[in-house]
Amino acid sequence: MSWSETFRTAIEALLGRRMRSLLTMLGILIGIAAVMLTVGLGEGARHQITAEINKLGSNLLIVMPGSSSASGQRTAGVQSLTLEDADTIADPLVAPDVAGVAPMMGTRVSVQHGTRDWASQVTGTTTDWPAVRARGLVDGRFFTEVEQASAAQVVVLGPTTAGNLFADSPAVGQEVVMSGQTFLVVGVLESVGASSMTNDDDTVVMPITTVAQRLVPPASARNLQAIYVAARDDAAISSAHQQITRALTVNHAKTAADPDFSIMTFQALLTAMNTMTSVLTTLLAGLAAISLVVGGIGVMNIMLVSVSERVREIGLRKALGATPALIRRQFLVEAGILGLLGGTLGVALGIAGAAILTPLLDLQVTVSLPATLLALAVSLGIGLIAGTYPAARAANLPPIDALRSE
């Protein structure tokens, strides 16, 4: 008997019991779709986290005042970072793996333009800031070295800030008022979008000298909230980390074991988040896989019923010359088709589900080709495994018992 005859016979047998075949496939269908969607969601979440962190700058290190203990608690209210620290880190002899340094002196202010009033975050920094934070401008320019040296009253607005103060009219060339002083808007930043961690679109950027002289009390005019450091590239992060640690412990006369500052990198955050996502995905996919096992048992059950119902047919086929191996093959192919067809429909449902969920969750639910092929292979495998026992039973039926049964 040729394979094509085996397939033809199997398909006819399945079509002869259409409703039952469909219901049997349903178990595998749901299982495959559930696994594909869970894995797709996990994959999508990981991509989103990676993208969000890369947006913040994957080569970025943030030096913050105060140490963080092993449990992650930070000593609050410490004012240990100064402009001198930023200068030290910027020295290529001290930290050769550092490409750029942007100190940050911040304060909350109320910004006014005409009758409009908007509370925002001041970022006092240096001209390196756009490069270090990977920020661009949609309009105007960033402040210059000269303006920085002279503590000029110029500001660059975040897109949200500009929008709130100027609505749709251009902000560049206009003036805003903070703490009773007038500042000239020279540029508007490109939007990076609000992430779950920060809102980098709502800010007022100006020279650090301007902030120190005009917006903060003289007592805190030397203290930095943070120093943003760009490593040469992603690979140089850990060496830059070490160089900064060494330089700052010397500056502050502290030991490396007991620092009064901490350094945060997004790489560490990325790794932690990815680990968490993977664990969650694996757990959920495992739960979904249980439904696949149930689906497989369903296939086995129905195949057993099918063998019992077709005892006469099996007996006749044997009498006419079917060997046990051919009968086994017949039922295995039937079970395999049930599995593979269920899997194919499951993949289709998974892809449809991903297409529906993606806009709904605002999360790219990824259905990859390898995952699809794996799902199909798994569903075929489940069908074949589930079919093994029923097929063996059919193959081992003695032809006379089979013919005798009414």
Binding site: M1, S2, E5, E12, G16, R312, E313, L316, R317, K318, A319, L320, G321, A322, T323, P324, A325, L326, P398, P399, I400, L403
Partner: protein
Amino acid sequence: MNALLQMTGVRKTYDTGVVAVEALRGVDLTVAEGDFVAIMGPSGSGKSTLMHILGCLDVPSAGTYELSGVDVSHMTEAELADVRNRRIGFVFQQFNLLPSMTALRNVQLPLVYAGVSKAERHDRAMDALTRVGLADRVDHRPGELSGGQQQRVSVARALVTDPALILADEPTGNLDSVSTRDVLTLFHELHDAGRTIVLITHEADVAQEARRVVRITDGLLSEDAGVPA
């Protein structure tokens, strides 16, 4: 004439666990090529067991059974399947046609297991169905045919592989008298054409149609006087 079937001292014991039932107690039977033999016996006589062994559906517990000079008593399931496929054509009381298939495909079934090509299968099945007078019914399913027609389809199926032996198990048991006549006429025609036929029945008038009648009682054979050829 050459012996097509030769059974020597065939015994068949069914071990039911508590008692061993001896269905055949030393059967000797020789059927010559081209013969038409009826095996008669009441139910429980071992008639079915004999038919199963004759049809290579089962193997004897003791003794030998040679079909066309080949000992089949110790063959494996797969080897027996091959012997059944190539050497024996079955006609059953219940017809045993697959209800979902047309007459043509039912007749093709043994050829499928023989590995015959699609085109040849079609031609040979058409020939066999023409032979039994059903050339105009090839596309009908068993449910659309009368009992007599269904049995003629199964005779066609038995013929299609050109087997050495046609083994009919109560072939008229489910048929009315007209269809019975029909099928028996067909057997006569096949016999006249040189086929070897073994017909198992419990009806005396059906058995009388054969050239030779063998009776089975309590697992032992006895022979009627041969009808003159």
